[in-house]
Amino acid sequence: MAEGLNKTYKVPIGPVHVGLKEPITAWLDVDGERIKGATIRPGAIHRGIEFMARDRNPIQIIYLAERICGICSFAHIVAFVRAVEDAARIEVPARAQYIRTIVLELERIHSHILWAGVACYTFGYDSAFNLGMILREKVMDVLEALTGNRVNYGTGTVGGVRRDITPAVGKVIREMIDFYKNEFGVFYDVVTDDPIAKARMRDVGVLSKEDAIAYCALGPTVRGSGLRVDLRWSSPYEAYCDMDIKPVVPQDYTGEVYGDVFDRFLVRVLEVYQSLEIIENAMAGLPSGDLMWEPKLPKLLNYLKQADGTGLSSIEAPRGDDTHAIRLTGGQDNITWWKVRAPTYSNAVSWPIMFMDNELADSPLIINSIDPCISCMERMVVTDRSTGSGNIVTKSELIERCRDKTRRMMGS
């Protein structure tokens, strides 16, 4: 290997890479197997959602917000809806707050188990990945029972929620809690006791406490570096106001902080237990009452049209703090502007630091360790090196091309 000769070559990881489930490009300067520098280039998938939103009213945007991300779709809705409620001064009924909390935590369980499985897959531990996928099915079933959908639940609305927790659903949720309390430990043991898993994650992608603060890291990434940061605790919202939630940090469990991928893994896995506890508490204290501040949609829209103000909301999504800011102008149906800050936006800034002096083999694991969520592809770029041309093909053109091909194949 050419290590030590100070000769580096560039290796692109992404935008299409087996180890990544999201399109982002990391150009790595590699010396032998060691990473000497990294340049991150997102933007393969910027869909201009914030621009699109300018032509829509708040209720329409809920469905746009839901499609920012498949896994934390409800987190984005709640963040958006809370920003609107802040701007328009709407108070949410207590029962709706509790239901929002329960769905948020269900989503967190879903997201963390999925992530833990994918992390194992990234270093070739397929059995743990499959175990994770099996475990995740249970919470997906519960979400389906509660909302009717496995992803994009369509459950939140301005001033409340659109689905109630019926006694039947309550029973399903309690069953799920028992299931995870019995079964999830197996997954935890399989990974934390495995020597290879430990060898692959320990001291890899280290983010020190100072860097985590300076680079504004969020969620499990910053908690993995040992900082007690959790919006559910530092600025409680919804039903979290009635609960005492302690941020999960590795030093409380292992006594030490490394700030590496293993610590981030540990934080996420332990947060699953925390979420189960929160759901249990929320189910026990579920108040009765209305589901919505205003069930009549035209009346709500009319109220929102009159509203004038800027709203801001930050909530603790599975990957970290999800911030939405919105501006409503009196007399206008549509919103004036809307800004979304998904957690990955901030966490991705820390990547070059985590990459430094790690190995090429670790790069997908490091990218995955912040649980990146870069949304789905909506257009593609076609380039031809020989002519140097590059143009963007939209989805409708793609569909048209597919149909052309089908017609060609069928010989008509």
């Binding site: 997102p42 933007g43 910027h46 869909r47 201009g48 914030e50 621009f51 802040d86 108070e91 207590a94 707050q97 100072e210 860097d211 603060i213 300076a214 680079y215 504004c216 890291a217 900082l227 940061v229 919006l231 605790w233 530092s234 600025s235 409680p236 919202y237 919804e238 039903a239 979290y240 106001c241 009635d242 005492d244 941020p247 204290g285 108040p287 800027t310 801001l312 930050s314 703090d321 911030t323 800011a325 501006r327 004036t336 502007w337 800004k339 800050r341 936006y345 901030s346 991705a348 800034v349 820390s350 909506e378 257009r379 770029v381 590059g390 963007i392 939209t394 989805k395 409708s396 569909i399």
Partner: protein, 183 residues
């Protein structure tokens, strides 16, 4: 350049005190400052507060430094809008992130950047985590940041015509023929 060692403070200051301190230092825009309560839970009690501050462009760095004396400024996002003769930027920060339950104080700083001088001082040397946001504001609004080392595009594609600023509402914004409806 390695940023200054970052740390969160141990000394908590109540939001009222932060507000009065800022009002004392920034008299010109003191009236625009407000403290907003955020309520929640079954009892509907105040859970935490956020500070909304407006400041003129010349005194923006002073305000940031005043806040940084209280605690390390955690940067969340910059939002903004084209309001005619100026681009209005809202910096969303928070302080006391790990000071205790309900103690986080969100601080939103609003600055108007006049269109004849679209330059803002960069906060990159103070808060390195701001990098993507400043690059985004640069490509979306055309606001230049003085002191930002990397001014490459973040979210727009490589072959983007940089004369078009997607979030502007004037002649530099996207024209109707630039917009294609994606299915």
């Amino acid at each position: 350049m390695k940023p200054r060692c970052a740390e969160y403070t141990e000394e908590y200051v109540s939001p009222d005190k932060v507000l009065s301190l800022l009002r004392r230092k920034f008299r010109k825009t003191a009236d625009s400052m407000e403290l907003r309560d955020y309520k929640g839970g079954a009892g509907n009690e105040t859970a935490y507060q956020c500070l909304w501050v407006q400041v003129e462009k010349q005194r923006f760095l002073d305000l940031v430094d005043a806040l940084r004396e209280i605690d390390f400024l955690h940067f969340q996002i910059t939002s903004g809008d084209d309001i005619g003769e100026a681009v209005q930027l809202n910096y969303h920060f928070s302080i006391f992130r790990c000071a205790g339950r309900g103690k986080r104080l969100g601080v939103t700083v609003t600055v108007d950047v006049p269109k004849d001088d679209l330059v803002m001082p960069s906060l990159w040397s103070r808060i390195p985590g701001i990098e993507y946001s400043e690059r985004e504001i640069r490509e979306m609004f055309g606001v230049d940041f003085d002191g930002l080392p990397n001014k490459a595009l973040v979210f727009l594609p490589e072959d983007w015509n940089e004369d078009i600023k997607p979030w502007r509402r004037d002649e530099t914004g996207p024209r109707p023929e630039d917009i294609r409806e994606l299915s």
